[in-house]
């Protein structure tokens, strides 16, 4: 159970935001999430009372910052059951996935090696691999999805072979919200000598993720989808892999020494992968956000997501005006179209009712060839959404109306 008082902790909720004359109902949590007071205060604390760069100074203030960053790293590590030195701060899931593709992929892939993805991946887990495949001569292949859009162990078993060097898939997909059997797939890839990179952008904020249990080699996620500030994210990597891995970005903060000849000695992981000034204020916020959602309880969050999803599905499944694409998926995501209305127009119409959903191809443009529509509307929930909000959302859709009403 989620205590409804949790909403009092979010200025975006307590400030009684109005949109188009209606109280805001925010159902775009797969995109980004609201920040609780403690996260805002933590980032503010850094900016107003503890500003200085990390590992750059000999003075107390800088030391305090280093301490705080180290503690934050340890907290992230315990959150996903990793070792502290396996946790790399990035600017988000995109940066983390690019680090894997260009750091690990670029230096290990040979012509003819296979990179296995799915058609349900976010652009951030496709485009880096497309590029790396082009640069190395590796081949992109896809684990076929079921008709609903799900990845199964059977399909993965068929697809994974001796040439499979990297499997990179989302644990929970961002459009349809199916949960992939990552643990089983990891075992299959490892048996063939490959590695698995898990895109946890949509899973880590919503379910308990344990990297040791999954036995994944990499895990990427963003802070802003779990109530932390934008510009924060994590790349987890198994230490023995990180140790041999090339950095994607080079510069200050990640080297030991370098010479005019071009010779350089780099720091060990995780710092090797944190070139330049990191988002220190964001990291203060990220640590608080993780504490906060752990306080709410990952199991409670997952249960609340499921409850809201079930309620939305129940309300919409018999409505002949609506086509739903993912009634059976695990995540608190409802992907749909209003029949006869282009997704974007439906999104605008919902906006005119104060409901924030996302319309579009959701950065998974190739998926829509699979579910036979170019674009959909996506409503996505988090623990601060209420049953009443879902009911209003459902009632609004069921009642319907002329989508051009939004303009008149």
């Amino acid at each position: 159970m989620i205590d409804p008082k949790i909403r009092d902790r979010f200025p975006m909720l307590t400030s009684n935001q109005m949109m188009q004359g209606h109280p805001l109902i925010y159902l775009d949590n797969a995109s980004t999430t609201f920040k609780p007071d403690c996260v805002i205060e933590a980032e503010n604390f850094y900016n107003s009372l503890q500003t200085s760069n990390s590992h750059r100074g000999d003075y107390d203030l800088s030391y305090l910052v280093d301490q705080h960053v180290a503690e934050s790293r340890a907290l992230v590590a315990s959150f996903i059951n990793a070792d502290t030195r396996e946790v790399i701060f990035t600017s988000g899931a995109t940066a983390a996935l690019n680090t894997v593709a260009f750091g690990y992929g670029l230096s290990t892939l040979k012509p003819g090696d296979e990179i296995l993805l799915t058609l349900a991946e976010h652009a951030s887990n496709l485009l880096p691999w497309f590029k790396v495949a082009k640069m190395t001569g590796a081949v992109i292949r896809y684990i076929p999805l079921t008709k609903e859009g799900r990845v199964t162990v059977e399909a993965a078993k068929q697809a994974i072979g001796p040439k499979t060097k990297i499997v990179s898939i989302a644990q929970v997909t961002n459009v349809l919200g199916y949960e992939a059997p990552v643990k089983e797939i990891a075992a299959l890839v490892h048996a063939q000598g490959g590695v698995i990179c898990v895109d946890g952008a949509q899973s880590v904020p919503h379910i308990k993720v344990d990297v040791k249990d999954l036995d994944c080699d990499f895990l990427a996620f963003s802070g802003h989808k779990l109530c932390a500030p934008t510009g924060t994210g994590i790349l987890y990597g198994k230490y023995h892999i990180l140790e041999k891995m090339e950095p994607f970005a080079l510069g200050g903060g990640m080297n030991v020494k370098f010479y005019p000849s071009g010779e350089m000695e780099l720091l060990p992981p995780p710092t090797r992968f944190e070139a330049g000034t990191i988002n220190v204020g964001g990291i203060y916020g990220l640590a608080k956000a993780i504490e906060f959602i752990q306080g709410v309880g990952m199991d409670n969050i997952a249960e609340h997501d499921r409850m809201l999803k079930a309620r939305a599905v129940e309300g919409l499944k018999n409505c002949d005006k609506i086509t739903m694409y993912n009634a059976t998926s695990e995540a608190g995501i409802v992907d749909f179209n209003v029949n006869g209305v282009f997704a974007q127009d439906a999104g605008t119409w919902l906006n005119s009712k104060g409901i924030a959903c996302r319309s579009g191809s959701h950065c998974a443009k190739i998926l829509h060839e699979h579910i036979h529509t170019i674009a959909t509307v996506r409503a996505s929930f988090y623990f601060y959404n209420t049953v009443e909000e879902i009911d209003t959302f459902v009632d609004t859709l069921v009642k319907g109306g002329d989508f051009l009403d939004a303009y008149f």
Binding site: F342, S352, G360, A375
Partner: protein, 149 residues
Amino acid sequence: MPTFELTPAMMREIIMDHYSSPRHKCDPEQEGYVSLHSASVNCIDDINVYLKLDDKGIVEDARWNGVACAISTASSDILCDLLIGKNEKDALYLNEQFHKMLHEEPYDSSVLEEAMAFMNTSKQAARIHCATIGWDAMEQLLKEHRHDR
């Protein structure tokens, strides 16, 4: 001065009409067209616009095609209607007035005709770029292919 008074009901009808049966939504079958591709990060709209200019710079034909919402479909289609027969100067003037209307600046309504139906688009600020995607692309094409350059 508006050349005719539009009621909201008429505006809806104009938009729905061009959305459900666009007249100029097709790729050219012949040579002689210049074209430009335009896509938006904010929405799904992903269109091509095509212009055929005669040797005096008069728009002989205007077309568009692609994936587009109701607002971008109707606005691009109406634009093509209005462009055909205009010289570059009048075409650019029309474009300028349309942008002014959408951004709630004073504008000359006498040239906008059916494009007046988008008077209210600014109510849905996130959709202004849909109403202008075709117009922006056409403006760029017109400027690139000016005869008096």
